[in-house]
């Protein structure tokens, strides 16, 4: 089977699964859904692995979608190391999560169950389209579809008002990002008169494509490139829940836990990182936008970590943690350490999905209770899950030998080594964030698993999850433990498989690792680890400063700010529009057309007296008028 067919197959398999489940899923026995749902994802994973081992590289065009004069938009898939890397993450981790949800969602009734897997398969398809697309158009299509799938999945339990509102919020913010993406694509098109990545990137390096409509001459205008980069960054920020378009992510926890694991930890939120990586030729030129990526990432990382300290819902802690870790990824790609950034993407996928799914096990055992204050003492009762949760937690903090250490310290080391102020600044922020990560992770761990069971526990003797839910988690735990060995650059020795693999496609890190960075990295780990332990005893610092506590609990009042500035204004505008424009003018003109006609007709019907002589009178009157006209015409 040729490579181009295989590449297309990666996309078609989840799509076929989604279509089958959408059409027939609820009518077929549940076992069909249970096999097809995860099965197509695993099948796509197998195909991806095949392509990976064959080291396939190619830009495969399947057909031309738009052809208008010299403007062409093909449907093409770009298979290179970066896209295969992302596909592996998506299908691999995605496969584990979808398998997990076979058990997690078992309580749903038939149609709902099938609907869930339909949505999951749609999501996987959309995400794969996003990373495989070879031109801006299909990138944006995938981008938008991913946002749509997210809406479906967050609002899966649509009877819950809070879920529906959260889904809507996520979708609206994603759309803001979509607009940025589209505008960025417009700017790119204006510059290069093409939307395929191959043409655009070639144009960046070698100058404009030789068409008549390349307005700005042979060399692209760097100002416009900056603009495009910033606009694309808006899209990335929205999708990856970075400041300022981050408020949707905590609310998105209304969705089922597998959704949170897949979309809001491992894949969708990493789309922004992928975007910066894919667009690295643009960002290499647009230095200001590139720096902005790093700053946004660093600030978000710190910001989210501080909020995580005061959260009481276990999933919210993980949500803010995700926000923070993605900030690290943005930081990395923002300073040009693409390899480190993507390695963290991989490792984060491992341990965050692990954490979410383990938390899902806990929630499941606790009969859907998510408040950590009502947990306590789970270590004794849910041993397997607790162990795996611990692995994930230590990975998150960045403790050797777990993968989180290698990836996070990889980033911080690169930042520290970068010989300029930007590098040092973001390192500093990242360092503080790592410490705070230790705090909130520790707090989460001790509160839920250690100590005595809380008095408010809903379930006295929780029982472990079934194997279908334990095994995927266990797989991820193993990956989180040994995964670090593929890139041990943070230790100064050993392989750098991820970076080597990706450096063929994205720009390599252009500076040397500072040898001091290693020591700094170990120190970071140590302090963070200590804080993790200390969190057992530590009352949150913020308890001593109630005002700070309040600020953190209200998430720096972002939601309130947006509500006041945007939501209420638009609500009022909509009210005015409805009251003063829609109802009187638009509805009115439509209904009014009817009533006016009837009113006019009621007057016109007065002419129909029914008397013949009246009608003849009208004839004669007409004759008089004609006579007058004739006379006037011939008299002049």
């Amino acid at each position: 089977m040729s490579n181009s067919v295989l590449a297309l197959l990666i996309l078609l398999l989840p799509a076929a699964g989604a279509i089958l489940l959408a059409g027939r899923g609820w009518r077929l026995p549940r076992i069909v859904t249970q096999i097809v749902g995860p099965g197509v994802v695993w099948a796509a994973f197998v195909v991806t692995v095949v392509l990976f081992f064959n080291q396939v590289n190619g830009d495969f065009t399947y057909w031309t979608w738009i052809k208008s004069g010299s403007f062409e938009v093909p449907f093409n898939l770009l298979i290179d190391n970066l896209s295969l890397f992302m596909c592996l993450v998506i299908t691999g981790v995605g496969g584990l999560i979808v398998t997990y949800s076979v058990g997690y969602m078992a309580h749903e009734d038939g149609p709902s169950y099938a609907r869930f897997f339909t949505y999951m398969d749609v999501f996987i398809f959309s995400m794969l389209l996003l990373v495989l697309a070879g031109n801006f158009v299909f990138l944006i299509v995938g981008w938008a579809l991913v946002g749509l799938s997210s809406y479906f999945l967050i609002g899966f339990w649509y009877e819950r008002r809070s879920a529906v509102l959260a889904a809507r919020k996520a979708f609206v913010m994603n759309v803001i990002g979509d607009v940025g993406m589209i505008l960025g694509a417009f700017v790119v098109f204006v510059q290069f008169h093409s939307l395929t990545f191959a043409a655009v990137f070639k144009g960046l390096v070698h100058g404009c494509a030789p068409t008549l409509l390349c307005i700005f001459g042979p060399v692209p205008d760097s100002g416009m490139i900056e603009l495009a980069a910033f606009l694309l960054l808006v899209g990335a920020v929205a999708k990856s829940a970075q400041i300022p378009l981050h408020t949707w992510l905590p609310d998105a926890m209304e969705g089922p836990t597998p959704v949170s694991a897949l979309i809001h930890a491992a894949t969708m939120v990493t789309a922004g990182v992928y975007l910066v990586g894919r667009m690295h030729p643009i960002y290499d030129v647009a230095v200001y936008a590139h720096g902005a990526v790093a700053i946004v990432g660093a600030v978000t990382a710190l910001f989210a970590a501080t909020i995580a300290i005061v959260q009481t819902d276990i999933k919210r802690v993980l949500a803010y943690s995700t926000m923070s870790q993605i900030g690290y990824m943005f930081l990395a790609v923002g300073i040009g350490a693409y390899g480190a950034g993507f390695f963290h993407l991989l490792s984060h996928a491992f341990f965050k999905a692990l954490l979410f799914m383990a938390a899902g096990n806990v929630i499941h055992a606790m009969h859907d209770e998510q408040d950590m204050r009502k947990y306590g003492g789970l270590w004794g009762q849910l041993r397997p899950t607790s162990i795996m949760f611990l692995i994930g937690a230590l990975s998150l903090v960045g403790v050797i030998p777990f993968v989180g250490f290698f990836s996070k310290e990889g980033i911080l080391g690169a930042a520290f080594s970068r010989p300029d102020n930007l590098g040092l600044t973001v390192w500093g922020i990242g360092f503080v964030t790592a410490l705070i990560t230790g705090v909130y992770t520790g707090r989460m761990w001790w509160m839920s698993f250690a100590g005595k069971p809380s008095a408010e526990r809903p379930v006295e003797h929780p029982h472990e999850a079934p194997p279908v839910m334990l095994i995927p988690v266990a797989v991820l735990a193993v990956l989180a433990t040994v995964g670090g060995l593929i890139q041990t650059r943070a230790l100064g020795v050993g392989p750098s498989l991820v970076s080597d693999y990706l450096d063929r496609v994205v720009t390599a890190q252009s500076w040397e690792e500072n040898s001091f960075a290693l020591h700094i990295g170990l120190v970071t780990m140590l302090v963070a680890g200590l804080l993790f332990l200390a969190a057992y005893r530590m009352r949150p610092l913020t308890a001593r400063f109630p005002w700070a506590q309040r600020v953190l609990e209200h998430k720096y009042y972002f939601d309130e700010l947006y509500n006041a500035v945007f939501v209420r204004t638009l609500d009022r505008a909509a009210d005015v529009g409805f009251r003063d424009v829609e109802t009187p003018i638009i509805d009115g003109s439509l209904a009014g057309a009817g009533t006016r006609t009837t009113w006019a007709a009621s007057y016109a019907s007065l002419l129909q007296t029914g008397y013949v002589r009246n009608y003849t009178l009208v004839f004669v009157a007409g004759a008089v008028i004609v006579a007058v006209l004739l006379l006037a015409r011939f008299a002049s």
Binding site: Y611, N614, L617, V620, V624, A627, L630, L631, F634
Partner: protein, 165 residues
């Protein structure tokens, strides 16, 4: 002499016309119309329309008016009673009619007659000349008119059928 004939015929026509619209009983109205028609046929003769003169008397005065008489005989002598319901009808009618007449009169004042074609007046309006015109240049209208008559006849027969109950 022709002038005298004209004025006598004109006077008869006008008196008859007034009679048509004035009599209460329809039968008298019909007879007035017959008077008008005869006067007009004389005028036609004066205007060298021999064939039309004959046709007017035979067909119009002779057949159509007889038809009217038969219908009046069938329907009985109806009389108009009462004042009538439409209050403004008479006034408005007078207004419009006067306006109309005034306009026509004004039109007549400005009339500029065209030069007549050169024809032989001794054969003008004779049966032969009418026949030539009717069956050659105006054959098409002639045939259509005959179809029209056919349709009218069928219509009349149909409309006056008694429904067998």
């Amino acid at each position: 002499m022709a002038i005298a004939v004209f004025f006598v015929a004109a006077a008869m026509a006008i008196i008859g016309g007034v009679g048509v619209i004035s009599f209460r009983q329809p039968i008298r109205s019909v007879l007035s119309l017959v008077v008008v028609m005869i006067a007009l046929s004389v005028l036609f003769l004066l205007l060298s329309a021999q064939f039309v003169f004959v046709v007017q008397i035979i067909v119009y005065a002779g057949a159509v008016m007889v038809l009217f008489l038969f219908v009046i005989a069938l329907l009985g002598p109806a009389r108009e009673t009462g004042r009538g319901r439409l209050r403004f009808q008479a006034g408005l009618s007078g207004l419009f009619v006067l306006a109309f007449f005034g306009l026509v009169y004004a039109m007549m004042q400005g009339i500029q007659f065209r030069q007549p074609e050169k024809t032989d007046l001794s054969v003008f309006g004779t049966v032969q000349s009418i026949a030539v015109g009717l069956f050659t240049s105006y054959l098409y209208p002639f045939e259509l008119t005959s179809i029209l008559l056919l349709v009218a006849a069928i219509g009349a027969v149909y409309l006056s059928r008694r429904d067998e109950r």
